[in-house]
């Protein structure tokens, strides 16, 4: 939007936040980013039986400029990664990413040289969705969880403070190579 970034802090912000969150979450337009079998389930979720139109998001935009949600459906090869990043960069702010399925979330069973081990290596991911492929209900569940996240998003100075906090937490967090068990 833009105007809310210039509003003075505290002024109208909570009501503007609520309104903006409500509008944003109910008009998400996903970019088509089907890469593999998960795309079939994503298409099924858009079709009549599951009907994403109920959440105001039936139009899968082929152009990233008109989309604000990227559903990465399928395995991302190393060759596809720069393309994915470019599509993400071309999308207008605010934008969100769902990593749909095991491959997009972590590389899944394709733990090899060709596949990016999770799209969060390339773009920031908001929701990870397990499953191989996840059924349409699982995708809708992920979308609804994302809606909840978007609805509670802060704006302006509050957002900046949250971003700073998240960054500080990320810097203080245990590095991946020191983690134990499956997180390693």
């Amino acid at each position: 939007m833009g105007i809310e970034e210039k509003l003075p802090s505290g002024f109208l912000l909570t009501s503007v936040e609520k309104l903006a969150g409500y509008m944003r979450k109910n008009s998400l337009w996903p970019a088509t980013f089907g890469l593999a079998c998960c795309a079939i389930e994503m298409m099924a979720a858009g079709a009549g039986r599951y009907d994403l139109a109920r959440f105001g998001m039936e139009v899968f935009r082929a152009s990233p400029r008109q989309a604000d949600l990227m559903i990465v459906a399928g395995r991302v090869s190393n060759k596809m990664a720069p393309v994915l990043r470019q599509i993400y960069d071309q999308m207008a702010e605010p934008k969100w990413v769902i990593a749909m399925g095991a491959c997009a979330s972590s590389g899944g069973m394709f733990n090899n040289y060709a596949i990016v081990q999770g799209v969060d290596h390339v773009v920031p991911v908001d929701i990870y969705l397990p499953g191989c492929p996840p059924r349409p209900e699982m995708l809708m569940d992920a979308i609804l969880k994302l809606h909840e996240q978007i609805g509670n998003e802060k704006l302006g100075i509050n957002r900046e403070m949250i971003v700073r906090e998240v960054e500080a937490a990320a810097l203080a967090a245990l590095p991946t190579h020191q983690m134990k068990g499956l997180l390693a």
Partner: protein, 204 residues
Amino acid sequence: MSEIEKKQDLSAVEYTDISIGNENAKPFLTQLKGFWVTFAMMFRKVNTVQYPEVKEPTAARFHGRHQLNRHPDGLEKCIGCELCAWACPADAILVEGGHNTDELRYSPGERFGAVYQINYLRCIFCGLCIEACPTRALTMTNEYELADNDRAKLIFEKSDLMAPLQPGMIEAPHPYYPGTDDQDYYHGKVKSSHPSQQNNGQVK
């Protein structure tokens, strides 16, 4: 005008008339038949499942989230053999076995699963782990709402995967049912817990 120029001259192209006046057009009633199919669909029952409000049950054997089962008295079935981890094609399971003692008994027999993690980011829900499990400790539920916003949250620990306690079960660790051994558990002779098993066999 040469042959090629004639082809390029658009005014010379003969268009087939598709208007109603066309003699070759289908009769009006035949056209209406086509529209009728579309029109009649409006009175059909709606196919859409209203998902978050209405949850259609999955197929009975749908592969959902895993569950670690218990014996009827509450002892864990998992013996920490790691066969599920070996069977997993995605390397999503991590098991570390531990030794049972008479003071601290989690499962019948010598060993129990001390650490049990399933990485749902990697899991492909193929069910090979369930086939590999020799004690039917690991099975799958029909639960599928697993999405989350953090990678670490999607690595399920043993406490997330353990089956809830049914009536008559006591949380492990606790000793064997009085007068039984591990064989009796596998032969299904233990049907429920015994009061002496409470508080890990200690009388309060």
